[in-house]
């Protein structure tokens, strides 16, 4: 069984809480342990920061997919239709990458629709329910 939840948010730091709550809630329902959930919450912050860190406008699109014992999260900055304010997607700083690397199982990034996109996945360590 696979569940997908999508969020679409304006670029605002105070809305990041919604991304964390969504990730934590889905992971809790899937019986991830509390340490894994805390790691996931931190990783979501870093994932968003690494994609939309320097942006002042645009839409953050988040997709959370839970597939059995794995949660995957995509974060994309959609700037199509935004006035050209000279924004260039920045390279994520290496600390973000290190953090994500340490907190999840897999991750990668690409340009997406031009604003930048990053993806991560984390498996539940426990096999049994």
């Amino acid at each position: 069984m696979s569940d997908t939840v999508a969020l679409s948010l304006p670029v605002r730091s105070d809305l990041l809480v919604l991304a964390r709550i969504t990730a934590a809630t889905m992971a809790a329902r899937a019986d991830f342990d509390i340490e894994e959930i805390e790691d996931l919450r931190l990783a979501v912050d870093e994932l968003c920061l690494s994609v939309v860190g320097g942006a002042r406008s645009g839409t953050v699109r988040l997709e959370f997919t839970l597939d059995d014992a794995t949660i995957a999260i995509t974060c994309e900055l959609d700037r199509r239709g935004e006035p050209d304010d000279g924004y260039v997607p920045a390279e994520p700083d290496d600390l973000s990458i290190r953090l994500i690397e340490a907190l999840v199982d897999e991750h990668h990034r690409d340009a997406g629709t031009g604003g930048g996109r990053a993806w991560l996945s984390k498996r539940r360590s426990r096999v049994e329910h």
Binding site: E38, C48, S96
Partner: protein
């Protein structure tokens, strides 16, 4: 970081090499601590927690496990910082009910981890405490000082996520300080250098340092505070 040095350290446990490895990576601990700053805990405490975790990571790192040291160390440092926030309670404004639940959560996580031999799940925590799973999730979100209300309070309109989360290119002026940290340390009076070294490189507690150096623990605490202030000042001035 050449792997050979880790292999050498794994066999020799040479003190001097250990110091080198710690010193070369202390910047990672500091940057991670910085990521958790402005979340209700003094920055100096976070740097201290992070530095001690880094020392542990250096001591425990197994070069044969196929993981980069920085990845391994990041996990260790983050784990210790999370634990610090959990133990420390918080400085977050939240309804009393949630605050109490959060504190209880900390104890229950420890107790259940012991009992189960692994970290508990949210349903297990909810069962044990006798509240709903949603309440547990609410407490985690509200209570974890490291993502405290100060982070999530509505920001100024033109503030970016990077500004808010204290990423490296925002807030405190951060350059690659690895190269400047050593001279900053060297600029300290000898006694302070020794105390800082015992605290952050050798990982001794303040009381242990006190008995080793032959001064009071209060004095150690003052010296550490002065040293850190001085290092920060030196770094800020670009020395």
């Amino acid at each position: 970081m050449p792997r050979e040095r880790w292999v050498e350290f794994a066999t020799s446990r040479d003190e001097r090499l250990r110091d080198e490895l710690v010193t070369e990576h202390i910047d990672l601990a500091r940057r991670l601590a910085h990521r958790f700053a402005n979340r209700g805990e003094p920055y100096d405490d976070l740097v201290q927690v992070g530095s001690i975790a880094l020392i542990k990571a250096v001591d425990r790192f197994d070069p044969d496990r196929g993981v980069e040291f920085t990845t391994y160390a990041t996990g260790t440092v983050i784990g210790e910082l999370k634990r610090h926030f959990r133990d420390k309670g918080w400085a977050v404004r939240a309804p009393r009910r949630i605050q109490e639940l959060y504190l209880e959560l900390g104890h229950t996580i420890d107790a259940l981890s012991q009992e189960l031999g692994r970290p508990p799940t949210v349903p297990e925590l909810a069962d044990s405490i006798g509240v709903s799973q949603d309440a547990i999730l609410e407490a985690i979100e509200a209570g974890q000082g490291y993502r405290s209300s100060s982070i999530d309070a509505p920001g100024q309109r033109d503030e970016t996520l990077a500004d808010r989360l204290g990423s490296d290119d925002a807030g405190v002026a951060v350059v690659d300080e690895r190269s400047v940290l050593a001279p900053a340390l060297a600029a300290l009076p000898e006694r302070q250098q020794e105390v800082v070294r015992l605290r952050f490189v050798d990982g001794l507690t303040q009381s242990e340092i006190a008995s080793r150096v032959g001064i009071s623990q209060m004095h150690v605490s003052r010296l550490l505070a002065q040293s850190l202030a001085r290092i920060r000042q030196n770094l800020a001035e670009g020395h």
